[in-house]
Symmetry: C2
């Protein structure tokens, strides 16, 4: 299964993004509004500059004792592991579990095309494996 | 696959817990130290009183503009969905994806026995389904 198929299946195709010069208060509002854990950071709406997550907020709050007066740029992760729409779900999944990422942005032709969460991965990988197992099972039992 | 098998396979069997009267600063340190996203809340180390996550911190920071002067009790989630060691992974997984939980505490005989994260679920469910599919596949192709 390709990453592009997962993006197509998502209920909303719009990627939630934020500008790097936005404040953390705006980020908190965006996370709450969409009930999500991470947002893609981009100045022009297309070029990926980073990703910023609940974890980035909580870690900065821990290290500095305060976080809301920062910009998104000050707390975001810039060394972002990305994937493309033609990448295989299995490989992206392996990266997520090995490196403990919960979100991987999808970039196509230099443009942010979406974000894949560990929840998306669970849903689709399990669906795929159950389908394959059921097919083999019915093949075995039809004889 | 039962939840108990997942707990047994985890690299550390110790459950990270925090007291409800602990401060949020202590919680932030604990999350950073163990590189985890949620902690079980208990006064006596055995009785589950709640669960507190990065999301609880971030949401309170959004609604109040500040969070570090709170106790864990003030921000934790008390209506916790739990599971038992004999529960089936599939059912717990279905609850997690449907209700968007990332962590489910495991309670055995009224005592906190562990916590299962969505990362644990991905790892084990995928391993199980691949094993079943491979077994059927080799059965089909041996004839």
């Amino acid at each position: 299964m390709r990453i592009g198929e997962i993006l197509e299946a998502k209920s909303t195709r719009d990627v939630v993004t934020i500008r790097p010069d936005a404040g953390v208060r705006e980020l908190l509002a965006l996370l709450a509004e969409h009930n999500i854990g991470a947002v893609v950071v981009t100045s022009d709406g297309t070029t990926l500059e980073g990703i910023v997550s609940e974890r980035d907020v909580v870690r900065r709050l821990h290290s500095d004792g305060t976080v809301v007066d920062n910009t998104v740029a000050a707390i975001m992760t810039t060394a972002v592991e990305t994937c493309g729409p033609d990448d295989d779900l299995d490989e992206v999944m392996a990266t997520m579990t090995a490196r403990r990422f919960r979100h991987v942005p999808v970039v196509a032709d230099g443009t942010v095309a979406g974000i894949v969460s560990i929840g998306d991965v669970v849903k689709h990988k399990i669906g795929q494996l159950q389908f394959e197992r059921d097919q083999l099972d019915s093949y075995v039992h039809q004889g």
